[in-house]
């Protein structure tokens, strides 16, 4: 036998063995099947259009066999059983919780396998629940079975450190089928690949410009605005600012909260961007002032950004006055979020002392003459 032929045979055997090993790992404890998974033949039309999702490979280099051709694991069978129950309107929130408990209690490789196999079929059903964020970004309610399973996949990946959830998420984010699935996918990537901020910011730009989703934003889409806060990317300010001026109330609300929280998470970046782009938020002067009121005046760069802002001739006096008032009583939205933590409680004594000292210096130097009356009032207010 020639050396080249022998090498090819050896590589072929190695490839077959690799596929077999991966298959056995994923189905190690599967019982001998006695029926074909329901996933292959839906008994009734699904209320959610099936969408095939490319199955992420556990090794990252090899695809796995089509799940419809595989024997059903007990966990996979449990998922498909619940799918059928949901489709026939017979499933309760208790059924959903039980499945989540079973998957949580199972060996994680088996749970990953069952979930990924199911998601690859593209089948889905509505749960009747609303997309709701619970503690630490976990879903307290998922509108579809797929979203629920993606959430669980993310939680399990958090526990094991595995890439399964993030790998699947990147596949989901290749198409715009479901904003709710996008929300969970963005979260799963951010959790596993915190270095992927540019990728996430790019996907947020896509999400914020996808007309069909913008027309009737789902709850998941609105919760996904938290990704903008996570990325701290000022380039997301313009699309969010445009929504604040729009007619769509849910988008307006979500954008306002996102921008407020972004300015809290990254005050210098936001203030710098707004100073460099004076037309952004110019139609919403009182809200723009709020973003500058998050500044920590003890930070020289942030103080400089505030001073530049109140020096600007294009900013009206009433807007500058609002900023000064906001410095005395900064404000925060408190909520459970997809990715970022709610603001920590703070002791304001140090901050108030800094505001009093800084505004006192502005008053004494008469650096901002038109603001003198408000600075006098503010000093009096702080002294009460």
């Amino acid at each position: 036998m020639k050396p080249r032929t022998a090498a090819l045979i050896f590589l072929g055997i190695l490839l077959c063995l690799t596929i077999e090993v991966i298959y056995k790992i994923r189905h190690a404890d599967d019982p001998v099947p006695d029926e074909v998974p329901a996933a292959s033949e839906p008994a009734t039309p699904s209320p959610q259009a099936p969408r095939a999702t490319a199955l992420p490979s556990i090794t990252g280099s090899l695809s796995l066999p089509n799940p419809a051709q595989l024997p059903a694991s007990p966990l996979y069978a449990r998922i498909t059983a619940l799918l059928e129950k949901l489709r026939h309107g017979g499933a309760s929130s208790l059924d959903l919780a039980q499945l989540a408990d079973e998957l949580s209690a199972a060996d994680k490789r088996q749970a990953f396998s069952a979930i990924l196999d199911f998601l690859s079929t593209g089948q889905d059903a509505s749960t009747g629940a609303e997309f709701t964020i619970g503690e630490n970004g976990r879903l307290a309610g998922a509108p579809t079975l797929r979203v629920m399973l993606m959430d669980l996949l993310g939680r399990f990946s958090d526990q094991t450190g595995g890439a399964e959830a993030a790998t699947l998420a990147r596949t989901v984010l290749e198409t715009k089928d479901s904003a709710d699935e996008w929300a969970v996918s963005l979260r799963n990537i951010a959790r596993h690949e915190p270095q992927s901020v540019p990728y996430l910011a790019g996907k947020m730009q896509e999400l914020l410009s996808n007309a069909p989703w913008l027309t009737k934003p789902s709850a998941g889409m609105l919760e996904a605005f938290d990704v903008a806060v996570f990325t701290k990317d000022p380039k997301l300010i313009p699309p969010l600012a445009a929504m604040i001026g729009g007619e769509n109330q849910p988008l307006r609300r979500a954008a306002a909260v996102a921008l407020d929280r972004l300015s809290e998470a990254a005050p210098l970046q936001v203030m710098t961007y707004l100073n460099q782009n004076p037309r952004v938020m110019a139609d919403h002067p009182f809200i723009r002032a709020d973003y500058f009121s998050k500044a920590d005046l003890a930070d020289p760069q942030q103080r400089q950004a505030v001073e530049l802002y109140i020096s600007r001739p294009d900013v009206a006096l009433e807007e500058k006055t609002k900023l000064l008032k906001g410095l005395v009583a900064p404000a925060s939205f408190v909520s459970e979020n997809l990715l970022t933590q709610p603001p920590p409680p703070v002791d304001d004594a140090v901050r108030l002392a800094t505001v009093e000292k800084t505004t006192g210096e502005w008053l004494k130097s008469n650096r901002f003459p038109q603001l003198q009356p408000e600075l006098i009032r503010l000093q009096s207010h702080l002294g009460r």
Binding site: E223, Q249, F286, A329, P345, L352
Partner: protein
């Protein structure tokens, strides 16, 4: 039609509300008198004066922690005006006399990307289920005293005695504490939003407390006045549930 009650002080009064014929005989807010307004636990209630955008408004709140006041979220944030400013709390105010006053130095609104009025619109009952906010002040507001509070919502939906307070500015001056006692229990509408068709809330009462009598006869703040309806006559409140309890414990001092 339901509407927010925070800001009546400068809004034109709609007398048409009196033309509506309530299905259930409704109770209307009446002045408590100065003595009651300045007696514990009612002395923990106060008027909130504040600015939003280019206007001045009034609402109500309650000292719930030594340095903190619990109120309605829509008093504190508006989508045109942004965060409210110059929030002055005048505790125990009745007429021209109050027990203490102080400006807030920190504002919190319990709500995220998709809660609150602007997700559903002012007429939707779901709009009010998250309508809660808190103010933190630099010094104790009542020498360390606070109103008791409870997150047991059955105190509102059961047979317990309830009484709501606030500085109504729709048919009263806005400077006198008003109270109203429902003749029927509150009904759970959506989430933490409860409604009662046996009473009417005036604008300006928003953020005021709904007290409920507990086991030992003590009064606990169990809800916050958040909305009113003219046809049919009804008052809406945000009940203090476990989420509210966590908010109070974590953020209010």
């Amino acid at each position: 039609m339901k509407r927010l009650l925070a800001i009546a002080a400068l809004l034109p009064v709609s007398f048409s509300v009196w033309a509506a014929e309530p299905v259930i005989p409704a109770a209307y807010p009446k002045p408590t008198g100065a003595q009651l307004a300045q007696t514990f636990p009612y002395s923990m209630i106060g008027q909130l004066l504040f600015e939003n955008g280019r206007s001045f408004y009034s609402g109500s709140g309650t000292v719930i922690r030594p340095k903190s006041v619990l109120t309605a979220g829509h008093i504190l944030y508006d989508f045109d005006g942004g965060w409210s400013t110059n929030l002055l709390f005048q505790r125990g105010l009745y007429g021209k006399t109050g027990l203490s006053e102080q400006y807030a130095t920190r504002i919190y609104v319990l709500g995220g990307y998709r809660e609150s009025v602007n997700r559903y619109g002012g007429d939707d009952v779901r709009a009010f289920s998250h309508d809660m906010g808190g103010l933190v002040f630099p010094k104790p507001l009542a020498n360390g005293s606070t109103a008791g509070w409870s997150s047991d919502t059955s105190l509102l939906t059961g047979t317990s005695y309830n009484i709501a307070f606030g500085y109504g500015a729709e048919f009263h001056t806005g400077d006198d504490l008003l109270s109203v006692v429902p003749t029927a229990p509150f009904e759970s509408i959506s989430g933490a939003f409860l409604e009662n068709r046996s009473l009417y809330f005036e604008s300006g009462m928003s953020g005021g407390p709904v007290f409920a009598r507990g086991d030992k006869g003590l009064l606990f703040v169990s809800g916050i006045v958040v909305s009113g309806s003219t046809d049919p006559v009804a008052g809406g409140i945000r009940a203090l549930n476990s989420t509210a309890a966590a908010f109070i414990q974590r953020y209010l001092r």
